[in-house]
Amino acid sequence: MFAYYLGLALRSLRRSPGLTALMMLAIGFGVAGSMTTYAVFRGVSGDPIPWKSAQLFVPQIDAWGPVQMSGPGARSGTNEPPDALTYADAMALIHDHRGSRQSAIYAVGPTVLPTGTGHSPIPVFGFAVYDEFFPLVDVPFRYGSGWSADDDTQGAPVVVISDTLNQQVFGGANSVGRSLDLDGRDYRVIGVMKPWNPQPMFFDVVDTGGFSSDGPALFLPLQRAIASGMENVGAVNCPKGTQPGAGYAGLQQSACVWLAYMVELDDAAAVQRYRQYLDDYARSQQTIGRFGWPPNNRLRDLRGFLEYQHVVPDDTRVSLLVALGLLLVCLVNTAGLLLAKFLRRSGEIGVRRALGASRRAIHAQYLTEAAVIGVGGGALGLLLTGIGVFGVNRMLPPRLADLAQIDPSLLALTLLVAVLAAVLAGVYPAFRAARVLPAWQLKTH
């Protein structure tokens, strides 16, 4: 039966090519506009680590007290604790080790001095972390691995480097065990990552704002970075009217927050226990007089924290809304045109009904015709989406544009949306068309 309906649909469409083209164009434009924007939106707001984001949590501890508000909460006047941790709190959390894995994190900016003449120094961007960071966020390794807990306690001079840096300095060879000069100090390469640049850079959005065009070039033990005085290029936020003393010693003793923190908690019970632990910790700090206020902690999961930090630009959300509006207009448009087209053919419907076609058959016939228009519009939409994504890539800042890419699932979604949109637009017209009374219709002719 379907083949017959398809034949009827094609014949009917061929009879009014202009109108058919109009409907397909409308659907094509609507789908392309919304899909292009959606591609950008999904690129920006995508879950960087979907298989694990539900187990990753970011603790926040109020080390400043109720008058010192910070972060996005400060605007709305809610009493949100700072976005990052003080050194004292981060170290206490590391030491107590209540999650299955955890790491404190801050951004460093050393300079790599390649050996041999003719190489110029390379300023790089990386992070100081703990050994558990690598399994925590599933860093992919090409050669070697992360370091051990012992390396952390001893502040061993080891470093995990990116694929890019390995290319630049070692020509892409397996460089595990070789030495790398950072700021004039020797470090032993212990692992080489595969190309890895999660977007957003979820493990330290406070320092990176969520996005960077290149992935992190290296990771090294946090205590080692502090001991060697490696430059801290992350955000340092201090309570009002205070300044940290000079160098790391000053930072470590200050109430300034400069460490990101991430902890892995396996189930709801573990999350509950960790919340309790944070509150107990804050209460103990209150008891010893360090905090003059009751516990005010947060434990957001990764997605919650990214949302709280407004990692997805409002701009992108607004343009997604505008694009959805475009799709809506196209739907209304197609519905109007389909309605006009179908009702015009009441004579034909009358004949078919009189010859014994059931209402259901009329529904099926007209929905098939709508679907054909949808497929045509979808094909056009695919083409326009391609052009749109290409255009967006030329228009958007590179850090966002890289994320907006055409991939097969986006293509499939485009087609699906087009067909659904057309069928949806065809439902009422088909219903109306099937209601035509055969006798009345035949009589007037």
Binding site: L19, L22, P121, V392
Partner: protein, 410 residues
């Protein structure tokens, strides 16, 4: 014009007519809001920086080995840059307008007040006003003996010794008006730390902050006389003539390399680049919205063309009868134009309400301002025009229907 016959015809196509009205309403609402959003972006991109934008270059260098005396290195670099032919003036600065990374301070007007009055950005560096080309509108500029080495200031802050701290500051007139509305700011005190107040000695016409995300606070700026040593966070700012920028930049880089060949240049750009980079998101967003508006208007126009053609085809016989009874071609043409005008007007009226509702939604969810009334007529006129243009083709076809159609059977 005969509106009543049009209305009675439309009543027979109620649903299609309403769909068209709905489409026009949605388009109108979205276009009003999108044009408003574009306007917001353009206004932001036009934000004044207060500096001589087409005459400035920014250079940042990172020293591989920290120089023994960063202050001496800074002085040496500046002296070297001054020798470069074509250079008019050289300054060092911790930041540049629209440069993104910024140093900010919490301002108090009374050291004892518990909450800050506001947060302002603080420029440190020598010879800034001259090089940037900011205009002093009251008081005096910073003098060489106002300056204090930043390390000494930090030490003084630690010991609570007021002597090693800077004592004067320049502020923008926007900041002056915000802190002391209607009063003379000269001689008043600003507290960045509880220890010592900075006396306002001069007022700048305008100087934007590096992180000028909010147009209301973009000019909350102070210049504090702190002398910074050479470091990779400091920028050298060079003023030159617009046409000399390219070769002065090249010569300046060569000169800096001559001071220390191992240093790495991390930033080298003109101020035009700074502005372009800072506002690139706004430009991209505005561009995207323009395309969406174009697509929307095209789709709506196509919809109108489609429906009008359909109606013309359906009414061929009626048109023939009218023509046979004495209606002129112009009558038929005007009939369809008026019909479209009526539908568009209804759609626009509905669209205005919708536009307002969408704006309310955006205001509550995305911190957007209220839609100014001026944008409503923009959407209305756009849709009236689009409607009339779209209907012209089908209406002309209708007008071309010969009277003889009336006598033919279908």
């Amino acid at each position: 014009m005969d509106i009543l016959p049009i209305l009675s015809t439309l009543r027979r196509h109620k649903l299609t007519a309403w769909l068209l009205i709905l489409e026009i309403a949605l388009t109108c609402a979205i276009v009003c809001n999108a044009v408003f959003l574009i306007g917001q972006r353009l206004q932001r991109m036009d934000m004044p920086s207060g500096v001589a934008e087409h005459e400035l270059l920014q250079i940042q260098v990172a020293d591989v080995t920290t120089p023994a005396n960063p202050y001496a290195r800074m002085a040496e670099d500046i002296a070297t840059l001054r020798q470069v032919p074509g250079v008019i003036s050289v300054a060092s600065s911790n930041q540049v307008p629209f440069g993104n990374s910024s140093s900010n301070g919490n301002i108090r007007l009374d050291p004892a007040q518990p909450q800050r009055t506001l947060s302002a950005t603080t420029y440190f560096g020598e010879n800034l006003s001259n090089t940037l080309g900011t205009r002093l509108i009251a008081g005096r500029d910073l003098q060489p003996d106002d300056f204090v080495d930043v390390e000494a200031a930090m030490k003084a802050l630690g010991t609570g010794d007021a002597k090693g701290l800077p004592h004067v500051t320049l502020i923008t007139q926007t900041l002056a008006r915000r802190l002391w509305p209607g009063q003379n700011p000269l001689g008043r005190l600003i507290y960045l730390t509880p220890t010592v107040g900075l006396r306002v000695v001069g007022v700048l016409d305008s100087l934007a902050r590096p992180n000028a995300y909010d147009i209301n606070t973009a000019q909350y700026t102070m210049v504090v006389p702190l002398r910074m040593g050479a470091s990779k966070d400091q920028s050298y700012l060079i003023r030159t003539r617009p046409q000399d920028r390219a070769h002065v930049l090249a010569a300046a880089l060569a000169a800096l390399k001559k001071v220390d060949s191992a240093r790495v240049v991390t930033t080298k750009r003109s101020f035009d680049d700074v502005r372009r980079k800072f506002f690139q998101d706004d430009r991209a967003m505005a561009g995207m919205l323009v395309w969406v508006i174009v697509a929307l208007l095209i789709v709506t126009a196509l919809g109108i063309v489609g429906l009008a053609s359909f109606w013309v085809a359906q009414r061929r016989r009626t048109i023939g009868v009218r023509r046979a009874l004495g209606a002129t071609r112009a009558n038929i043409l005007h009939y369809f134009q008026t019909e479209n005008f009526l539908l568009a007007t209804l759609g626009i009226a509905l669209g205005m309400v919708l536009a307002y509702a969408i704006n309310l939604f955006l205001m509550t969810h995305y911190e957007l301002p209220r839609l100014p009334a001026i944008y409503f007529p923009v959407g209305a006129i756009a849709l009236w025009l689009i409607g009339q243009l779209a209907v012209l083709g089908p209406a002309l076809r209708a007008a071309a229907v010969p009277p003889v159609v009336a006598t033919r059977s279908v």
